[in-house]
Homo-oligomer: 400 residues x 2
Amino acid sequence: MDLEFLHTLVQPATTKIVLCSLDGLGGLPRPGTGKSELETARIPTLHALAGRSACGLLRHVGPGITPGSGPGHLGLFGYDPLRYPVGRGVLEALGIDFELQAGDVAARGNFCTVDARGHITDRRAGRISTEICVRLVERLRAIRLDGVELLIEPVKEHRFVLVLRGGHLSGRLSETDPQQLGVPPLPVRALAPEADRTAALVNAFVEAARPLLRDAAPANMLLLRGFDQRPHLPLFPATFGLRAAAIAAYPMYRGLARLVGMEVLKTGGTFAEEIDTLEEQWEHYDFFFLHYKDTDKAGEDGDFDAKVAALERFDALLPRVLALQPDVLAISGDHATPSILKGHGWQGVPALLASPYCGADPVSRFAERDCAGGSLGVIPAQDLMPLVMANALRFTKYGA
Amino acid sequence: MDLEFLHTLVQPATTKIVLCSLDGLGGLPRPGTGKSELETARIPTLHALAGRSACGLLRHVGPGITPGSGPGHLGLFGYDPLRYPVGRGVLEALGIDFELQAGDVAARGNFCTVDARGHITDRRAGRISTEICVRLVERLRAIRLDGVELLIEPVKEHRFVLVLRGGHLSGRLSETDPQQLGVPPLPVRALAPEADRTAALVNAFVEAARPLLRDAAPANMLLLRGFDQRPHLPLFPATFGLRAAAIAAYPMYRGLARLVGMEVLKTGGTFAEEIDTLEEQWEHYDFFFLHYKDTDKAGEDGDFDAKVAALERFDALLPRVLALQPDVLAISGDHATPSILKGHGWQGVPALLASPYCGADPVSRFAERDCAGGSLGVIPAQDLMPLVMANALRFTKYGA
């Protein structure tokens, strides 16, 4: 539903909401046992909570579409991820806590290897260490271009972020990465007339970088892609009339929350510390986005047992959240990360919604095939927030 | 789906359809028993019918959106309530059986209390009795304005309806109700150039009303909101190729049926009398919309037991409907009215569809959590009518 329409329904209330995202929550059965991570884990608190919740499966982009963390979380926040795309360069900047300003153009950079003719032989420069990346970024920072500020930040291994700031810039640019070997990097082309100046600036940057990297094999050249500017998103607190805070140990998720206008709270590096922050700040906000990373990491590693253990650690800490007695507690994830896939998946992600008004449903276990039969149904992720708002009695009736 | 598209599929048939709306049907479990009104009620006929029906849950506007009776019934009639909004003034007029003509502008009026400075101190004038409302409306009927007919009707307590008729009118007007105390009523503003004349007329009406009400404290002023004209809706009988009749004891539902072009049948004030009408008129129509009000009233009162009793009374009368052997019988509601909410709710509303072609599903009880697992799924309310038409063999194939 349209966010402007939803905004017209907002009514004041004093209810407290917690939206908890277990990153990469959804999984798949392990061959041998036929049970998924959630079905294997001992998670009594989640199961008991499912028993008094409305349950379902969330689909974040569309059937068969594997969401990245950006679209996945935008969906949880109530935004249609296809209507509000966020470029890769912007996500990369968010992922290192870089505060993108309106108008900045961000790109994801890769150091790569080129041969004597300048043809690409390795698009990731043998995945150089982060230390080397940091030193090469230092070299690039020597580049000066007229009328634009260049901000270059190392990310991890061969990856870095390039941000152009100043004047009228546009992210409507083609990429320099040809996505194949044996050819030279491409010059950037403007995809719209207003991007002509930005294209010229980016090409000048690449030419200036070439001699600075020449002796740095295997990282003797760079590739740029995912040029984009901060998207114009309706702001979450204004749209839903909520004092909204984000508690996330990882920069990417803080960045996504900041992008939609949530206040990002200072917190520690563990989920227990995130809950400390939740407890401390409980009185000051109506809505808390709480992010748990461990499930995704284990799934990405293909480590089924580690993902089971991550779910059990979450379950053991959940009573502290329940003790705060939120009026509405929603628990789901931004996408599946099935251990047997060793990466994000397109599978529906279990979701539960607990409130005094969430209604009865037959689900009493928090797992994929149980939630498939729940009363929330199999729904787009962006439908969760309106349900959360309704359960918090923060939406008025539509039509008399 | 688009109604024009659906219309292209209509084929003639002699089948008889009954669409029965139990107002505010959906409920929520009562704390203590954990059972909803439907789960508590002894409704053997509905349960048996569910056993041979396709079941599901209807969502009338969108996830988390609480529908008013207008959008709720439009959904049941096959209209997307967001595409076909009906203004509050129009609904208020329908609710008193006022026959709105094309071009009329209707507004909902409230008598209110203002202090010596003209600032609002009570937006509902202490909820004056309907008798006082009737007398004050008599006073307002003395007002004459050039070029427009003013039709003013009392509703209930502090509420009345104002209708402007004649010339080129527009409902694109702001409201005079500031929705807060301590400030004067607002003048009406035209929200589009074509509404300039109507705005001037409404403001002249308000100025003429002021001296007439001055001595009528606590009802010494009035507020107007929800200006709108009868919406242009595709007509139900033409769209679906049905001779369609509505049987409803309450004016609001007769009004909604009239709005979509159904023939409104004269009936008595009880559901038993509605069924008398159904039996008497059985041969003359293809489609009957049958409305049952008691479930909603009990829910609005927060009277769980009364809602259970209302369901049981409905169930006891249902065999008379079944005895007519409709080819398709659909039973659902326009929205939930959970007793524990004491008002409309956003929860999915159980629906059943009985026909020789409805297909098997696992549901054998007509209640919220059972229907959540039915073969209809959790669907927008406007998807019910196409399914009803298909089951009545009144839709031809799409594509060769």
